[in-house]
C-alpha cells in the first residue's frame, strides 16, 4: 500500500459495462472524468457544488453527485450513467414514461432525475409516493414544476409492477 501521496492515479473501473483504465490527476472529479476524459456528456452540471442533482450517477448502484465525488472513489467500481440506462437500444421504463409524459422540457435536469429514480427502483421495485417524492426532492427542475416528472415516475412504477396506467 503506498503511503506517499499520489498526484496522479491509475483508475480502473467499469463504465456502463465497459472496462476502462485511465491515468488521471488526483483532483479529478467523477463528473469531469465522465464528461472530459470519457466523453460521456449525458451527465450535466447545474451548480457544480452538490446543490442541484443534475450530475447524479450510480456508483455500485448507489446514487452519487459526481460533481462532488472524487474520481478516485470510483476505483474498481461499477459506474452507470444516463447513457447506459437504455440497454440494447430499448428505453428503460423510466425513460419511456418520461417521454410519454413530456417530463423533460429543456431536458437539462433529466439525466439526474432518471439516475436518481433508477437507483430507487433498483432498490425498491414498488416505491410509495412518499419515496418517489424523497428522490425527486434531491434534484432541481426549473421547467416542469415536477408535476410531469412525478407523473412519469408513477407511470414507470405502475408499468414495472405490471399494473396498467
Amino acid at each position: 500500500m503506498p503511503t506517499e501521496p499520489d498526484d496522479d492515479l491509475v483508475l480502473t473501473l467499469r463504465v456502463n459495462g465497459d472496462r476502462r483504465r485511465l491515468l488521471i490527476p488526483a483532483n479529478r472529479t467523477l463528473l469531469n472524468l465522465l464528461r472530459q476524459d470519457l466523453g460521456l456528456t449525458g451527465s450535466k452540471h447545474g451548480c457544480d457544488v452538490g446543490d442541484c442533482g443534475a450530475c447524479t450517477v450510480l456508483v455500485n448502484g448507489a446514487p452519487r453527485l459526481s460533481c462532488i465525488t472524487l474520481a478516485a472513489e470510483a476505483q474498481d467500481a461499477e459506474l452507470l450513467t444516463v447513457e447506459g440506462v437504455a440497454v440494447g437500444g430499448a428505453l428503460h421504463p423510466i425513460q419511456a414514461a418520461f417521454h410519454e409524459q413530456v417530463a423533460a422540457q429543456c431536458g437539462y435536469c433529466t439525466p439526474g432525475f432518471v439516475m436518481a429514480l433508477k437507483a430507487l427502483f433498483d432498490e425498491r421495485p414498488d416505491p410509495t409516493d412518499a419515496e418517489l417524492n424523497e428522490v425527486l426532492g434531491a434534484n432541481i427542475c426549473r421547467c416542469t414544476g415536477y408535476t410531469k416528472i412525478l407523473a412519469a415516475a408513477r407511470q414507470a412504477r405502475e408499468r414495472m409492477n405490471g399494473r396498467s396506467t
Binding site: 503511503t3 501521496p5 457544488v49 446514487p63 460533481c67 472513489e73 434531491a138
Partner: protein
C-alpha cells in the same frame, strides 16, 4: 466548471494506516463522503495538499451492539444507512430522523455520520466563492483574509460565530453519545457534549492528527428524544435552527438548540422552568437564552422568535411520546 485545487490522494485500508498518514502529513485533510469538504474546496475555503480517503477503510463502516446494550456506529457509515438501520430506528429514533432531514436523499447516501459530526461551521458571509469573499474583504474565518478583516456578524467582536449546522449533533448530545478519536498516540473518547468549542474558526476539540472512528451510544434514555429542524425548504437546505428535546418522566426535560452559534447548546435552567411553568416556561427560557445572529441569509429576529416555537413543539412531542 469550478476547478478543485491540486492535491494528492492517499487511500488507506485500515484505521491504523489512516492514523499514521495523518501523523505523517500534518497538512492533510480527511475525506469521507466529501459532501462538505469538496464544495468548500471548490469555493476555495482551504487548499490542503493531501486528502486521505476514508472510503476504503471498511472498519469504519460497521454498526454493532455494545456490551452495555447501546450501539457503536462507525464514522464511515452513511447517513442513509444510519437512518434505515432497524436498531437505530427502534433505539434512537431521533438520530434516524435527523439523518433523514439532511440535505437530500442522494447526499444522505454519500455523506457519513463521522463527516456530519465533523461538519465545518457555516456562515452566510463565509460559505461563498473566492471572488465573493474577496469583494466582501473576507472575514475572520477566512484563512487568507486581508489585514483588518472583520466579522460581518459581530463587527466589533474578535470572535467568529459561524453556526454549527450538523443535524445529528443535538440528538446525539441528548442520547449522551460519545465519539472515539484515534491517533498514533492511542484512542480516546469524548462526549459529544464536550466535542465542540465556542469559536467558529476553532470549533472542534479534536487534535489535528486524530481520526474520528465511531459514535458510541449508551442504552437509550427512559423517555423520548425528539429532533426538529427548521429549514427554508423541504430538502437541500442546511438548518436555520435545530432543536432536540428529551423528556424523562422521572428526570424532566432536556433541551438542546443548535445552528445558532459554533456549538450545539444544552439550555440551562430547564428543570427550574419546567417545575415553574411547564412547556411554555421552558420555551420562554429558551427564547431568553438563545440569540441567533445574522449568520444565515434569513433574518435573525425571526429565527429568535422561532426558538420559542420550536422548543415548545419539540418538547410537546417528546412528552406526548412518553
Amino acid at each position: 466548471m469550478l476547478p478543485l485545487p491540486t492535491f494528492s490522494v492517499l487511500s488507506p485500508r485500515a484505521v491504523s494506516d489512516a492514523a499514521q498518514m495523518l501523523t505523517d502529513h500534518p497538512q492533510a485533510r480527511l475525506i469521507a463522503g466529501g459532501t462538505d469538504l469538496l464544495p468548500s474546496m471548490k469555493y476555495g475555503l482551504f487548499t490542503p495538499p493531501t486528502l486521505i480517503r476514508l472510503g476504503g477503510v471498511s472498519a469504519l463502516q460497521e454498526i454493532s451492539v455494545t456490551e452495555a446494550g447501546g450501539l457503536r456506529i462507525g464514522a464511515g457509515v452513511t447517513l442513509r444507512a444510519v437512518g434505515r438501520d432497524v436498531r437505530v430506528l427502534s433505539l434512537y429514533p431521533a438520530l434516524a430522523a435527523a439523518t433523514r432531514t439532511i440535505a437530500t436523499s442522494t447526499i444522505q447516501a454519500m455523506g457519513t455520520l463521522g463527516g456530519n459530526l465533523m461538519l465545518d461551521t457555516r456562515c452566510a458571509w463565509y460559505n461563498q466563492s473566492t471572488f465573493w469573499r474577496g469583494a466582501l474583504g473576507g472575514c475572520l474565518k477566512c484563512h487568507s483574509a486581508p489585514e483588518g478583516a472583520i466579522c460581518h456578524v459581530a463587527p466589533k467582536g474578535k470572535g467568529c460565530y459561524a453556526a454549527h449546522s450538523a443535524d445529528t449533533a443535538p440528538g446525539l448530545l441528548l442520547y449522551d453519545a460519545e465519539v472515539e478519536l484515534v491517533s498514533t498516540r492511542g484512542a480516546r473518547r469524548v462526549a459529544v457534549a464536550a466535542l465542540y468549542g465556542d469559536d467558529g474558526r476553532d470549533w472542534i476539540r479534536r487534535a489535528p492528527d486524530e481520526l474520528l472512528t465511531a459514535v458510541i451510544l449508551p442504552p437509550p434514555p427512559a423517555g423520548r428524544v425528539v429532533h426538529r429542524k427548521l429549514r427554508a425548504r423541504g430538502s437541500i437546505d442546511y438548518p436555520l435552527l435545530l432543536t432536540a428535546a428529551a423528556f424523562d418522566p422521572d428526570r424532566g426535560p432536556r433541551v438542546v438548540v443548535s445552528s445558532v452559534g459554533p456549538r450545539p447548546v444544552e439550555l440551562g435552567g430547564v428543570a427550574e422552568a419546567w417545575e415553574a411553568g411547564g412547556v411554555e416556561a421552558v420555551a420562554e427560557a429558551a427564547y431568553k437564552q438563545v440569540s441567533p445572529l445574522s449568520t444565515h441569509v434569513w433574518p435573525a429576529p425571526w429565527r429568535k422568535k422561532m426558538v420559542r416555537v420550536e422548543v415548545r413543539r419539540a418538547l410537546e412531542a417528546a412528552i406526548s411520546g412518553v
